[in-house]
Structures are given as C-alpha cells and as structure tokens.
C-alpha cells in the first residue's frame, strides 16, 4: 500500500469533518500554531491497527468554542466541553482518515482520546505536522507512525 497520499487524505478528512459538522472551511497555512502554544486545546489518540501511530489535534480555545457553539448550541465555553470538542474532532478525523487510507474492506481500531491544555505531549516521537486556518482560528494536526513519514 503506497503511503504517498496520506497527507492529502488527512487534509480531506479534516475538511469533510468540519464542513459536515459546522459548515467551516479549512485552508492549509504555512505558519504553525506555535505562537499561541501554551494556551492551545489539544487532543491525542492512538491509531491502534492496522496502521499504528498517534494523531493529535491542537486548536485555539476561540476556535474550539465556536465549533462547540455551532455543533451543540452551547455558549458556556466550559473548559471540559472545549476539550471534549477537540477530542471528538480528533476522533472523527482519525476515523475518516483511516477509512480513506484503508478503503471500506479493512477494519481499524482507534484508542480513547486524551485531551488537555498547552503543548501536545510529544513523547519524544517524530511528528509530521500541518497547520490550517479554520474560520479565522488556528488548527494543527500532528501524526506519527511508521506509515506516516
């Protein structure tokens, strides 16, 4: 299985998810979300099989709050709900991404997402990162695993 198109599949998975979930448009951007690091909301989950690795999503709290509001109508911006929103996005993007990579005939397993504030825990691994502009906010996806280089 060639992996040359995994970046395109990941971008498409994110675009589809945000468009269907909240009618949000996604644009790739050169600059990373690093400037706002420290206050970013992040979520990370394991891609268990058959393409083992980790997928992380980081986004600005403002963007997480807008996404939460669009999806649920909640305007409280409660911390737990913001982190839940990022975790749910990571989970959905991961599923769509693996569906694209594997096709419909191969089952895959996802782990439970972890979420928090600040820097995405990198565990000393080599991550592939891509930043996006979404509805005026910054979102970054990071992936690591032997099939993603």
């Amino acid at each position: 299985m060639g992996m040359s198109g995994w970046r395109a599949d990941l971008a498409r998975a994110l675009e589809e998810t945000l468009e269907q979930l909240a009618f949000m448009l996604v644009e790739e951007q050169e600059e990373s979300c690093q400037a706002a690091a420290g206050s970013l909301c992040w979520a990370r989950l394991e891609l268990l099989s058959p393409l083992p690795g980790l997928l992380g999503v980081e986004m600005s709290p403002d963007l997480a709050a807008r996404l939460l509001q669009m999806v649920t109508g909640d305007e409280s911006g409660r911390e737990a709900l913001l982190l839940d929103t990022v975790a749910e996005l990571a989970n959905t993007v991961a599923g769509r991404f693996l569906n694209r990579r594997l096709g419909g005939g191969t089952e895959f397993q996802l782990g439970l997402p972890l979420a928090g504030r600040g820097e995405l825990p990198d565990s000393g691994l080599v991550w592939q990162r891509q930043s996006y502009q979404v509805d005026g906010g910054c979102l970054r996806i990071s992936v690591t695993g032997r099939d993603f280089s």
């Binding site: 998810t17 999806v71 439970l112």
Partner: protein, 132 residues
C-alpha cells in the same frame, strides 16, 4: 407517546449533539444518557428504551460489547440499536448489522440520516408504533 431514547457516548459534546439531532427530527423523545456501555446496560435493565444510540469506542464497555449483551438478554433484545461512530467502515458495519444493530451511521452524524433511520421504522419496529 414519546420515543424512549438512550444515548451511550463518553463524550459530553457528542451527547449534546445527538440530543440536538433528535430535536431536529421533530419526533417526541424522552432522552436518557450513559457515559459508557456498562452504564447504558444498567439503565436499560432499570427502565426499558425503544432506541439505543451508541458510540463504539468507549471506556469500561465499548459499543460492540454493549450491542452483544443487549441482543443476548431477552429483557433488552427488543431495543433497536443505532450505532454512531467514527470507527466504522463497510466491513465493521456489516458485522454490526449481523449482530443485531438496526443501523450504523458514520460520524459526524447528519441529523437527516438519523431522522431517516427513525422515521423509516416509525410504522413498525419502534415501540410498535405507539410513540409516533
């Protein structure tokens, strides 16, 4: 009479979204919530539901094990189970349907897809038509 719905998902945001989708269907619903499969099973045994909407990836007991136990127990086997998950594809979908799921819907859920599944069954399976 309202449709008795039990939502099982460990994500509070996902449960809120599902409730919003149910409201959008226009169907009268009484909604209860569980944060994992074990809690959902306990709630079902405590009080029956017409529909169980469940995620697959959950702590304590996942959605697939929940489906298996619901369908294995004569007390709960009649509950119509709708699986909503990002971890489903054609292969897994087919397996879940064989296990007894009424439908398997991909995240992000479209309210119209959920409405179609519920309305498709409104004349027969769901609560024998009493809720409509």
């Amino acid at each position: 009479m309202s449709l008795r719905v039990l939502i099982a998902d460990d994500s509070a945001m996902a449960r809120m979204f599902l409730k919003r989708c149910l409201e959008a269907t226009g169907l009268p619903c009484e909604v209860r919530e569980a944060v994992n499969g074990r809690e959902a099973l306990d709630l079902l045994l405590l009080e029956p539901a017409d529909v169980l909407i469940t995620d697959l990836v959950m702590p304590v007991m996942d959605g697939e094990e929940l489906l298996r136990q619901v369908k294995d127990d004569p007390l709960t086997a009649g509950v119509q189970v709708v699986v909503v998950s990002s971890a489903s594809n054609e292969s897994r979908r087919d397996r879940l349907i064989v296990m007894g799921a009424k439908a398997v819907l991909e995240k992000p859920l479209s309210p119209s897809n959920l409405a179609a599944v519920l309305q498709q069954e409104s004349g027969d399976s769901w609560g024998e038509g009493e809720w409509a």
